[in-house]
Symmetry: D2
Subunit: 344 residues, 4 copies
């Protein structure tokens, strides 16, 4: 049975990735694309300046772009992927949810709201039940589910693997690709032969979202994990793929082998976009590398490597494709989870 | 009074920088350049494939390249800058020292030897007296002084500023420029649109050299500082300038302001290559950036920024020009210190 | 019916691409891989430092690497793809041909030899019959077929389209990716924030190979086309994809539309690696671009755009993936042509 | 005697370069900086996001930014450098000229106007006299002088050297740095691992401006040179420095040596910003390269190399620093010419 889906903010960088990932999807059929007023009424081909490195799907190029308004989206669309700018999303997502649509949103607004589940399907699928609280409190027929920030998604599955050892403190340096800032987010003058050692708001997102994702939900309230995360976020001259250097301190002493086993043991799911192996662990300390490893599992796997013991715990590197696993693919996977768990 | 100096390994990347820095030097006169046997006898212009971004100095291009052998270097040369590959250096540096030459060496061999001073002039000039121990033990008329690894030099002056607060533990991620690996060290296929999350031996150098540099010398023996350093070293697609994300844990609680004041308070010296201000601290968290800030103080200053408190201490970023402050300039500055302290 | 094939020089950059393209091939089964003596006897996984951006094929990683010697390759292997360094190829390719193997070679040696066909299947498949002359003259049971240089392949199909208008003179500037020089061919210090305005031998290859490819074979002798090509070859900081600015002067006056039609009319073949459309022509003058368009037709298509009339003729841009259409894929396609034409 | 000068559009990329070049100028004293209304009244330090790779000059950082309006600029300022966006410039430059100011403008508006001199001081200083025509026709006390587009400036001095051989036709491919598009002109997503084969309007500028610059002025009317220029303009991932591949066809047959001699013979002037040698010619065909050679003559020289004969004429490469010689430095040099020729 096919679910009819739509993409809100379909002409942007994440929207385009989303459309690429939905092309040929086994369960979802793309039925509606929305963008800003200025694009409404035009064909998708004309409205989107297509920049993904595969041709624009035939089935999409002649779709008419709609305004991002619940009244414009057909009623038989059951699931919406939102990659709207957070300011716009804050305004319109509630209207769609009120109108009965279920949203899997990549937008950063409301991620930390108490009744909004922030979910990585393999890590905290149980948080989905928070949607009942959400519907109660907000009196919505629809729902809003969020995926975390791209830099958070890259790291949290590895932290989840270490929870069993009494995870206490994390230091993390990120080396983030330019696509994370959107198509025009980083100018070439800023980044060629350069590094920018700060990304506004990113450090705080990693620190707070990680605690929520690793937290526990008892059916009524979400209890954050108390891991202490300190992040330093850098923009580097790569197109796609966020690489992160992580140091983790735990109650227990752990060996390199224990950590590698724990990373490999994090189970993937059986959803259409799930990779065979969630976390691939390299023996070669020179890996993972963004250009070589970002497409592992069609961009949905996480790569790790360089695991070694330190005086205070362990250190390792992890990597994920920021616009697939970290954004568009994260939203699609959350959509697949919503479908399989009967929320549509 | 002018000191006649030579450069061992003068055709390599660091050797070329060294020659650039010696051009027009107020105290040193370049009198000899050496390279491998295959280059001996040729003019420097022919033997060196000059790739520095300023023209080859007139006074050097017609110098005849000599073999790297004490017998080939004139006796009136008092100071030699060595930027030989470490394997070659391990073999020939002792011969030069035995023959009476004083060497300021950037080569990585023997940096951790007990009777070899490893010096950053502004940080541990007193370690120079270890040369007396060296001369005694090795029965040398000459001497060998080392500067640390480029990634170590970038960070240690900032750690020295924090020593007063009871420095205990450091986590550091480096984003290192390709020039640090020499002219052919990193291929373009490896690094365009990419990051390499490991540099062989680099992490250990940062961990051990830092302890030696911050240690104390009582006239007889060098006592390492007991700071625990855990490093994660990355190669990024920048030409020059190593950027580092540092987290420091100290006995005392410190504020951002205390740290910034302490960084600004580290004194520069009055040597010819000294920058006016050793550590420049930026308020803007987007700075320092390699391309914009690596030439501060003609490449001899260290830039810092992004200072902020964390649950466990403080974090900040620092940056230095890896082939000037971190290599050729470090050796020249050590040579200036040797001259001013009467070791020539 | 499956042809058993081998790859000579299988651990290099083009060899790895070749193995990637042969993985899952509908007609070819990879049965042997060779490399230098130092790799012989090791598993392919160990001998090759795999750097292609898809995992090493399961069927290949446990193959034992053989020495590049006819005595080491099984007799039931009928077709060999050669991506050896040209010096090595000049020595061993004739031995393989003498021993009865048919070689589809990407190596640059002997491309201009009078009895060696230089073939782009869609452009001059009839030149294959030159193999009869070759076998007669050299008394070989096997044969050696060559594909042209990557920068030549990118342009010649477009020139073939213009032959009908009386092609007389071509000026071409190339903007070539670093992978064209092999994995270690261009150091990062040479090319980051830079362009190298010369590639040794490349200009001459484009000038001479184009004339041979566009020439006619009457069954006995190959008559070069008399087009005059003047090339200026640049290396730029891109990973894959050669972009070329072409100006063509012809006897006839032609319009933009005529040129675009002629480009689109060049027919693709029905071989396993053939793209649906050989030359895709963009209306948008900003295209083609290496990163966005190099994978058109799985890297086997040629992209063109920016066609416009000039006082002396027309100008346009063309682009192809240099290690697929321009090297490994070119050799595989030539192998498919050899198989379909009954030369194995 | 010092001339008091101002910079219109002082906070932009070219404006910042202009201020850098005026710092410590022997004849000019910076007395006024203007920007858009939103910056007016703020200190220059606050209004400009300073991004040049040398610190902001002390003498400028506390200047108060003025609105770009003749009424706001002090009367004792005699010369204005304009680097305004062309739309703004088209509106306000005439007002300044009418108010009596002399403008040396880098803005692209009106460059081809019949009574506006377009000048490269070493090439066509005599065109300055067109200002008399301008003053007559427009009834201005002031004047507007233009420098050409950065890609034109790089090539035209080399074409001027070839004029003596009967220059007829030019084909030119440009490989242009991202700074040519201004600070935010090219996004990193567009250019990392990529080339853009088209720059809107640039080809036409090169074709028309070249003819005007090489033309002759008889005191009344400017007669364009009839050289036919066909350009293909590419954006590449370099920060600064436009490299160009040029083919020139001439009435006479010329040798490589004749061309190199002619290039070297183009005389520099004796103005404060003049380089010692206007065109430096490299023997090494690998040069010039943007990163290594863009700062020749403090960024005011032009580098050439790779000269060789072709069937139709000669080909060679040339390079200049696009924001110094090609923009800010061009305007300053024109200002120096205006001063020395008594137009202030």
């Amino acid at each position: 049975m096919t679910v009819r889906v739509g993409v809100l903010g379909a002409t942007g960088a994440v929207g385009q990735r989303c459309i690429q990932l939905l092309d040929g999807h086994s369960e979802f059929e793309l039925a509606a694309v929305t963008a800003s007023e200025s694009s409404a009424g035009r064909s998708y081909r004309d409205a989107a300046k297509w920049r993904v490195d595969s041709p624009i799907p035939d089935s999409v190029e002649d779709l008419t772009v709609r305004a991002t308004d619940p009244a414009e989206v057909p009623d038989d669309v059951d699931l919406l992927f939102s990659s709207l700018p957070s300011g716009v999303a804050a305004e319109v997502e509630p209207k769609f949810a009120e109108a009965g649509y279920v949203l899997s949103s990549n937008s950063s607004n409301d991620r930390m709201a108490e009744d909004v589940p922030l979910v990585i399907p393999e890590i905290n699928p149980g948080h989905l039940d928070l949607l009942e609280v959400q519907r109660d409190e907000r009196d919505w027929d629809g729902a809003v589910l969020k995926n975390p920030n791209c830099s958070t998604i890259t790291m949290v599955p590895t932290l989840a693997a270490l929870r069993q050892f009494g995870l206490e403190r994390v230091h993390v340096s990120t080396l983030q690709a330019v696509s994370g800032a959107g198509y025009s987010g980083v100018s070439s003058m800023e980044i060629i032969d350069n590094v920018i050692p700060h990304i506004g708001g990113e450090e705080e997102k990693m620190e707070t979202e990680s605690r929520k994702l690793l937290g526990t939900f008892d059916g009524a309230e979400l209890q954050n994990h108390d891991v202490e995360v300190s992040a330093s976020c850098n923009r580097v001259p790569t197109i796609d793929g966020h690489l992160e250097n992580v140091w983790a301190e735990m109650e227990e002493d752990v060996t390199t082998e224990q950590v590698e086993d724990a990373l490999r043991a994090v189970e993937s799911l059986d959803l259409p976009s799930s990779p065979d192996q969630l976390i691939e662990v390299f023996d070669d300390p020179m890996r993972p590398q963004p250009r070589l490893d970002r497409t592992l599992g069609d961009g949905m796997a996480i790569a790790a490597g360089g695991v070694q013991e330190t005086p205070a715990g362990v250190q390792y590197n992890c990597l994920a494709h920021n616009t697939i696993r970290g954004a568009a693919g994260a939203a699609v996977l959350n959509g697949e989870l919503l479908a399989s768990e009967g929320w549509l």
